[in-house]
């Protein structure tokens, strides 16, 4: 059995892939830790230490699996004392939603000016579209006054206009059309081109089930510090 530390962005996928008993071994952390990589490292390290402080942990678990990639280098420097640590070979969750790092590389090969969307991101984060920006604008105006609020809103808007593409990763487990519509509308709002990519949960499935392929995961031994070369 493995202990799993997962980002909330994979909540639905995990519930779909693992059975009830396996889910008990999953610790879900809030989405968005990648924005502050140092804090992310602290939070995950704390969870690792908690797990390893349990009695007979080496007999109980074969290792700790993270559903995190580099994620802004928030996994860099993590360390276990007793158990193996398994980390997907991925920059971020897009690789896990797409199904392989090769698919991800292929997608960003031509142009990196891509804003990525999928069902989990749309559900959990106020993803950029006109409507969400309008909400932000009102919040800014309320907090900083009309003049500064408009200024901050314009800066935000300029940021999104620099992107060229909105990519949507279709989920094999959640095909509600409203997510795709959200992306298409956002692309219209910002003048982006859009592309729909097929998602694949095979990679996440293998990792969560403890099927580790050398090309898909890093395995760090107890006492070894996480490093990426």
């Amino acid at each position: 059995m493995y202990k799993i530390i997962a980002c909330n962005i994979f909540k639905r996928e995990i519930e779909n892939i693992l059975d009830r008993e396996e889910i008990k071994e999953v610790i879900i952390l809030e989405q968005g830790l990648h924005n502050t990589p140092n804090k992310m490292k602290e939070v995950i390290q704390e969870k690792i230490d908690e797990i390893e402080s349990e009695d007979y942990v080496e007999e109980k678990y074969k290792g700790i699996i993270l559903t995190y990639g580099l994620c802004g280098n928030g996994t860099l420097g993590l360390k276990t004392k007793k158990l193996k640590l398994i980390i997907p070979k991925a920059h971020d969750c897009m690789t896990l939603f797409l199904g392989s790092k090769e698919k991800y590389q292929e997608a960003i090969k031509q142009n990196k000016a891509i804003y990525w969307y999928n069902h989990a991101w749309i559900d959990q984060v106020p993803m950029p579209n006109k409507e969400n920006l309008e909400i932000l604008r009102e919040e800014y105006i309320e907090k900083y006054g009309e003049d500064n609020g408009e200024y901050l809103y314009e800066m935000e808007l300029d940021t999104y206009k620099k992107y060229a593409y909105g990519f949507f990763i279709k989920s094999p487990i959640n095909n509600d059309i409203r997510y795709e519509k959200f992306l298409i509308q956002a692309c219209k709002d910002f003048g982006w081109q859009y592309k729909i990519l097929e998602g694949d949960l095979g990679l996440l499935n293998r990792i969560l089930k403890g099927e580790f392929l050398e090309e898909e995961v890093f395995i760090f031994q107890a006492g070894e510090e996480v490093k990426f070369s």
Partner: protein, 210 residues
């Protein structure tokens, strides 16, 4: 002087209109433009920078304070030019190729300007050739390279290699910044300095030009 303190206080709150009125008044009271700049505008910006570093204020507060600072500096520009006021050093700054994140880079710019440095902002998604051209054109003391993604941080290395190839590496100090950047990465790619946040980047830049 009270009016300089008022400028600083209003700037910290991002009150642009008040800052501009006070700067005008200070000038008409005969206060030296350099004093207004350093003890009013830059003082306020430095306080905000310090608070930002300690997480006491957030990005929007810094942005509106910097806006007030920049417009205040505009009012002083003619006076400062007349008096041959020299910035403390020159920085060329950008976000590297393939990376569109500009808020972090803008914060670095604002903090650097708050330290009295001249900053030439090349923008985002700037490749190594464009950077080399800018180094030749502006001859800066410092080059600041920002990367927010693990997919683009390698571009910082590409830029440093390009500087070496073109014989410019010794002419400019390179600071690397961005959320995924670490001190050991900075060393590995041959950067001069690493800064963990925008305020530190400004302090580091100042130390490199001094």
């Amino acid at each position: 002087m009270d009016i300089l303190n008022d400028i600083s206080m209003n700037l910290q709150k991002g009150k642009k209109r008040e800052v501009l009125e006070l700067v005008e008044k200070a000038l008409s009271d005969g206060i030296d433009a350099k004093v207004i700049l350093e003890e009013g505008l830059l003082d306020g910006m430095n306080i905000i920078g310090g608070k930002f570093k300690k997480n006491e204020v957030y990005i929007p507060e810094v942005l509106i304070a910097a806006r007030a600072m920049n417009e205040g500096v505009e009012l002083l520009k003619d006076e400062l030019v007349d008096k041959d006021f020299e910035p403390k050093g020159r920085v060329v700054l950008c976000t590297v190729k393939g990376d569109l994140h500009d808020i972090g880079k803008n914060l670095v710019k604002m903090m650097m300007e708050g330290k009295g440095l001249e900053v030439i902002d090349l923008g985002v998604d700037i490749n190594e050739k464009e950077i080399v051209e800018a180094i030749k054109k502006y001859n800066p003391d410092v080059l600041g390279l920002s990367a927010l993604l693990t997919t683009t941080m390698g571009e910082q290395k590409v830029v440093i290699e390009e500087l070496e190839k073109t014989g410019l590496r010794d002419k400019v100090k390179v600071i690397v910044v961005g959320a995924p950047i670490t001190e050991s990465f900075a060393k590995e790619i041959g950067a001069d300095m690493y800064a963990a946040d925008a305020s530190t980047a400004a302090e580091v830049a100042l130390s490199l030009v001094g």
